[in-house]
Amino acid sequence: MDELELIERLKNGDEEAMREIMRIYKNRIFNFILRIVKDRDKALDLTQEVFIRAYFRIKSFRKNAKFSTWLFTIASNLSRSELRKRKIVDFLHAFYPKLLVNDHPGNFNGIEYFLNQIKPDYRIPLVLKEVEGFSIEEIANILKIPEGTVKSRIFRAKENLKNLMERG
C-alpha cells in the first residue's frame, strides 16, 4: 500500500494503518535510537514513544516532507532529550554515587563498540548517513542544522572512528 494513503488513513484514526506504519519503520527507528542511547530497554521504550507521538501528532505532518524524515526527527529529538536527562543523572552520580541504579550497558562488538565512543553530536549524523542511508539534506532537516554542519560532523565522526579503531 502507498505510504501517503497509509498516512491519510492514519489521519482519520485508522488503527490498521498505524500497525502497518509500525511494521515498516519499527526496526529502523529502534536501531537508530539504540545507537544513540546505547541501552536496549530505553531504546525500546523510546521507540514506542516515537510511534505514540506520531499517532497523536500526525495532523501536523505536511505532505511536502518525507514521512521517514518526520519520524526520524521525532526519534532524534527523543533520543537527545534522553541523553540530556542522562547527563543530569551522571552529574548527580558524581556527587551521590548511590543514586545511579542502572548504568548504561554497552555490550556492543566490533565497529559498534568504537561508534559508541564518539560524541552523540557526531555519532547521530554518521548513523543517519551510513547506517540509515539518509541524504545530507534529509539529515539537516531531521537534526534542524545546516547542511554544512552535517557534512563537517560526519567528517569528524569518521576521523574519530578511524583514530579509535587504529588505537584498538
Binding site: N27, F30, F56, N109
Partner: protein, 115 residues
C-alpha cells in the same frame, strides 16, 4: 569503514511491539477522554462558585442587608430659632436616633430626640 557501518548489527523487534504500542495509545486516549470529562464540569463549578462569591461580597448585597449608606460630608446646617438648634449629625446610615433638638436653657445644653 563505511562498509562495516553498513553491515552493522541490525536488531529486530518482536511482533508484539505493535500490540504494545496500540495498547498504550488506547490507554492514553481513555485517560484523555476521562480528563476532558472531568475538566469541563470542574471549570463550570469554578465559574459558578466565583460568581456566587462575587455576588455575596458585592456592594449590592451590602445595600440590601444593611440599607443604603447615607453619608454627609459635613454638618449640613444649624438653624437657629431662639435658643433651639436643629443639629444634623453626619452618619453613615440614617437612623431616627441621630436627629436631635438641642435646646439651651441657661447655656446648658439639653438634647431632645426629635422623633
Amino acid at each position: 569503514m563505511e562498509k562495516d557501518l553498513k553491515n552493522i548489527t541490525y536488531f529486530e523487534l518482536p511482533e508484539s511491539f505493535e500490540n504494545d504500542v496500540m495498547d498504550r495509545i488506547k490507554r492514553i486516549k481513555k485517560r484523555r477522554k476521562r480528563a476532558k470529562m472531568i475538566f469541563i464540569p470542574s471549570i463550570l463549578i469554578a465559574v459558578l462558585s466565583f460568581t456566587a462569591l462575587f455576588l455575596m461580597n458585592s456592594p449590592l448585597k451590602k445595600e440590601r442587608t444593611e440599607g443604603k449608606p447615607i453619608a454627609f460630608m459635613e454638618p449640613l446646617s444649624q438653624e437657629y430659632h431662639a435658643d433651639i438648634y436643629l443639629e444634623v449629625i453626619p452618619v453613615k446610615s440614617f437612623e431616627k436616633e441621630n436627629l436631635y433638638l438641642i435646646e439651651f436653657v441657661n447655656e446648658k445644653e439639653e438634647r431632645i430626640n426629635a422623633f
